[in-house]
Symmetry: C2
Subunit: 341 residues, 2 copies
């Protein structure tokens, strides 16, 4: 099983897949796994190629692990972290490690290999989002998990190894570094202002207007003032909500905002490869005391990143990003793109 190891200087954790030590790195292995339709484990009719399903939206007359589904959630066959590993923290010489305990699930978004998430009808996108919300909420019941991340890799440059539309969920036994930075930043801001920093950002962006991409009654998307990447987009609920699954009342507007925003991005950049991540609140059931006040401070959001630039030495060495496209320009192109949703 994989193990977690801690950088003794910066306290960053790394997942080391200790069991996979093959003769030097074989890139062809990944290229190969970009499976064609007829070998794709996520296609309808190939349900036997995945582990047993955890959840699904399917025809009432159909059976689990057979065809007849619209959305299907299965454990990742090659998990980064394993649910069967007991959670244990150990020292080794001067270093710290942890067993590779965690959960890694795949949300297969539609039966059709050649589809694209944002081309699906709104009703189907709603279902994908609803199933994802349920999985996150369910995983948070396990208090060994400190955090649950939903993310989507679209295209090989974005790290996807399978073309069939899918997103992923990873639940981790520690709060990840970047999430902790956001939580702490939001907490600091709240202490100073007694307001949520994300709520303030939404107000500011609406006031300025020039970085807004799309807006409906309950959701807004914009290119952040501090965009790290060209055409980076954030998508948030307008009303303060801690968790992704707190936003169940307005799922139609969420699906509409996601579909419209992604259609615009797709039109302006000609179907770019991209990642998105959903930063939801931390697991309040784990270490309840520590995050007890975060309810008012933190605000869940999508971060959408088209893969256009290469991260190079300067970015690795500093954590600075160089963005050649001002977000005001990116937002203008996206706002002006006419899409039919």
């Amino acid at each position: 099983m994989p193990e977690l190891r801690k950088d003794p200087v910066t306290e960053r954790w790394v997942i080391i897949a200790t069991e996979r030590g093959k003769r030097p790195y074989d890139a062809s292995e990944i290229a190969h796994s970009w499976a064609e339709n007829d070998h794709c484990p996520f296609c309808a009719g190939h349900e036997h190629l995945t582990p047993s399903e955890i959840a699904a939206i399917r025809d009432p007359s159909s059976k689990p692990n057979g065809p007849g589904w619209q959305v299907r959630v299965v454990p990742n066959k090659f998990p980064a972290l394993g649910i069967d590993t007991p959670l244990a923290k150990q020292g080794t010489g001067m270093y710290d490690r942890m067993t590779g305990f965690g959960a890694h699930e795949v949300i297969i978004e539609c039966p059709d290999h050649t589809q694209t998430l944002h081309k699906l009808p709104i009703e189907n996108i709603k279902n994908v989002l609803a199933v994802s919300q349920n999985r996150i909420e369910d995983l948070q019941k396990d208090t060994r998990f400190r955090y649950v991340l939903l993310f989507r890799n679209d295209g090989p440059q974005a790290g996807a190894t399978i073309a069939h539309p899918h997103s992923q969920i990873i639940a981790t036994p520690i709060t990840p570094k970047r999430v902790k930075e956001e939580l702490r930043g939001a907490e600091t801001y709240f202490k100073l202002k007694e307001r949520c920093v994300f709520c303030d950002i939404i107000d500011e962006e609406k006031r300025i207007g020039e970085r807004i991409v799309y807006e409906n009654e309950h959701f807004v998307s914009f290119c952040p003032y501090w965009s790290r990447f060209p055409f980076e987009i954030w998508l948030l609920p307008k009303k303060h909500e801690l968790n992704f699954y707190s936003s169940r009342a307005h799922l139609f507007e969420m699906a509409l905002a996601l579909k419209t925003t992604m259609e615009k991005l797709s039109q302006v950049l000609n179907n770019p490869q991209y990642n998105y991540i959903v930063h939801s609140g931390p697991n309040m059931f784990a270490r309840r005391g520590y995050w007890q006040t975060i309810q008012d401070d933190y605000h869940w959001h999508f971060e959408i990143i088209p893969r256009l630039t290469k991260v190079a030495g300067f970015e690795w060495g500093t954590g600075f990003y160089i963005n050649p496209t001002p977000p005001e320009d990116a937002a203008k192109y996206l706002r002006e793109a006419n899409v039919f949703v």
Copy 2:
């Protein structure tokens, strides 16, 4: 000129190139600039294609900005940050920004377009390192700079836009986030143990042995216990040294260690594209009070990262890395590679 903008949540700074707002992102522009030999601005005889040189190692009979050089340092023609911009900090609505003040220099490592840094004779590598040390030391005299980073992008996947062997230096008016994390981590460790964390890591790696790649009297390279990437390698002076330019006494051993390590990497992974960065101490002349104690805590080092895996949604969303190659395996292959230096 570019400007710096601050993420109001995590306090990460981003360089936004506000003047370059072109119609959607043109990837061909970067591909195009992978200049062929006859248009390469870094080749001998093409000195008029770069801004005037800042430093050079050249034949005593040759003239600046003409042929006859072995190493040449010039300002970057398309700087991420500009030396002519006055440093000013401003608010804009709820956000913070800074003018894009800084320095961005290119170290042209040899006159020959088709060479590779680690294939150069040791004497030439020594000269490249010595010139880099001088530039960093010189830039730190400007107290407006908080940090000076040396880095190298090799190959288009590593973010290089010009094939001719070169490395780069960027001096920034703020201490970059990742550097600050290392400085703070080293400081915390020192407070607890009264020892440098990097010195302890070197001792521990020598004791264990299985992650060592190469070692000579004054330098050691190893795959860190917490390697974020397959075949990640760190290279450090064995004796405690704060700054890259503090290591002038053993430049031969440094060049030998770098050449041997890179030759091994090159042999095992068949000339991978890579980045390396040099993390040297912060600018002690700027904000002397704050970093006054860092002399004993921090230890300069190379971080060498071959570009084998794609950073995907999970890494962006969490700051966790998934490394499929245990550093013990990587180090074994590298240690066993026979290279003739």
